[in-house]
Symmetry: C2
Subunit: 333 residues, 2 copies
DNA sequence: CTGAAAGCGCTAACAT
DNA sequence: ATGTTAGCGCTTTCAG
């Protein structure tokens, strides 16, 4: 691959003139510029980014680590990040941690090694040394969707608690008294907040919280619903903590011949494509996914612009969600 | 950030000893190793990848460019690529071209500039100079999902033509005579192949092909279906060229009170989450998305291992799809 | 406005 | 087994 001095030789000028033309760093006489440009595209010169980084010690790449790039939520998030970064002249190195803390750790290490300018992460796990290390190496870290435990970093989340509380209240307003919360056992910030929001709403309404935990070490959804959807205390409404849970619930409901809205109401945290396609369409809490990604990237970009030797005060920004009322709770009133 | 020689100084040894310990390149006396290791993690050394690349002139990063990272199909593809690359010791630089040729071009340029070891792309557009340039700079390029027009590159696609033909035949076997193909106007390889497959199946069955083209410069889906779903020649089955089209069709059908399977049959190219959730679930052509990504990455990795000065014979691999029969065509027979 | 030299951090090659 | 040197391609600095 041709180098700067190859071009310089061909144009009969010094390397610095070429560098200046390539980067537009300083004015160069028209004559030199012409000759350089000519040589430049005759030879097909491509700057060597590695050399630039080595010299300046910071690349124009940012890193993004999410649990699973194939998950529509993270995919949209990643897309937003990438777009925003691109417009600011940054490329994005993306990685999936596969929900595994060890993978996340090594990916973080490799990114720091690659001298990413900054790091965005949807963290999994609780041991967060790697993020602290990144920071102490001058790589700003921003947490998305969940905070980074024990590490002072800027954080962007969604109002999980408030939204869950509000949508449970929505169910109460529709006259429901026996409202189920179906959730995953995984002890993840978002899930915890959502269940807490549901519980709070139930307490507000002086109703009994009934939480069905799914997953390893807990009952299956079939067992839970067998119990909760029969007897005189049977539930008439469900708050699903995620769309995965909602899909499982949907299948169960169909299996039992229960009709949405008519026999049982449903609200789900997080919109998903099928939600508007099933009959009747499902009321959901819509998250500002793209905004989350965009804002996070913007915050990072801002941090990159700051002088490092300033007092660092981590921000926690909580983005509002929207209760998108469709038809799974019956008529609105 | 600490460097190799910082560590060397602290350990009281030469830089190469440190380098050897860090990379495990060669045996070092236990005593030296001990001292180096100690210094290493006292000082928190992190290798500078840029310097390594500058020296060896090859990075362990591959690039992936897709039209839209937020699209579930490309997201899953990206995930598979990233996983495969990771296991082989490569990280993945991802970018969305946003379906725009100009963006794709600049992204490709930047990736070459970053000295990616290889490039995977789902190409958009027809002017493909940038890919040829990448190749001539020693960066192998692999096309995914669609071939790169006019550039000899390895290509992985899916059997669009055969699958469309087969699924249209499936409709014919169910006794349908008036089968519609609803497709997008965009002149993209996959879409073209799919429509061609449909046409071929219709010819095979001596039936008249009826293609409804959607998009700018064509009728809307409402207009098309107004025409095609009435009269005595009214269609009784639809082949949807993509899931986007299928969703649009679904909405139209619902609006008209037409029931799937009973009033009209539907087959869709490309599975999507809602397809199994609506009633009745929709028969689809399932694409091996993850395999596409994995195979593409593996092929690239293979190319990276090859000697550059070998006769290059581009491969075109076509992966088989699966007709996943659900219930939108009525009973199977 | 232009060029020459120094050096970013690393490792291949050579020297001890 | 270990240390020393040169140089990857670029830009910052200093001289002309």
């Amino acid at each position: 691959m041709p180098t700067l001095s190859d071009v310089a030789k061909l144009a009969g000028v010094g390397v610095m003139s070429v560098s200046r033309v390539v980067n537009g760093t300083r004015r160069v006489s028209p004559e030199v510029e012409r000759r350089v440009r000519q040589a430049l595209d005759r030879i097909g010169y491509i700057p060597n980014e590695a050399a630039r980084i080595l010299k300046g010690n910071r690349s124009s790449v940012i890193g993004l680590i999410v649990p699973d790039l194939a998950d529509p939520f993270f995919a949209e998030l990643g897309h937003a990040v990438q777009q925003t970064a691109w417009h600011a002249g940054y490329m994005t190195l993306m990685a999936s941690s596969d929900h595994r803390a060890d993978l996340e750790t090594s990916e973080t290490g490799l990114m720091v090694q690659r001298r990413v300018a900054g790091l965005l992460a949807v963290p999994v796990g609780n041991r967060n040394r790697h993020f602290a290390d990144a920071q102490s190496n001058g790589v700003p870290v921003i947490a998305i969707d969940r905070p980074i435990h024990n590490v002072p970093a800027d954080t962007l989340t969604v109002d999980n608690f408030a939204a869950s509380r509000r949508s449970t209240a929505h169910l109460v307003e529709h006259g429901h008294r026996h409202i189920l919360c179906v959730a995953d056992t995984e002890r993840i910030y978002t899930k915890l907040q959502r269940v807490a929001g549901y519980k709070r709403a139930m307490r507000d309404a002086k109703l009994t919280a009934r939480v069905c935990l799914l997953g390893p070490g807990a009952s299956t959804i079939t067992e839970h619903l067998d119990r909760e959807l029969s007897g005189r205390q049977r539930a008439t409404a469900i708050f699903a903590e995620s769309n995965l849970v909602a899909v499982a619930v949907l299948h169960e409901l169909r299996r039992r011949g229960l009709r949405l809205a008519k026999d049982i109401a449903l609200v789900c945290f997080d919109d998903f494509s099928a939600a508007s396609l099933v009959t009747p369409p499902i009321t959901v809490i819509q998250q500002p996914v793209a905004e989350l990604g965009r804002k996070a990237a913007e915050l990072l970009l801002m941090r990159l612009g700051e002088t490092q030797h300033k007092a660092f005060v981590p921000q926690h920004i909580e983005l509002p969600t929207r209760l998108l009322i469709r038809e799974s709770c019956g008529q609105h009133r």
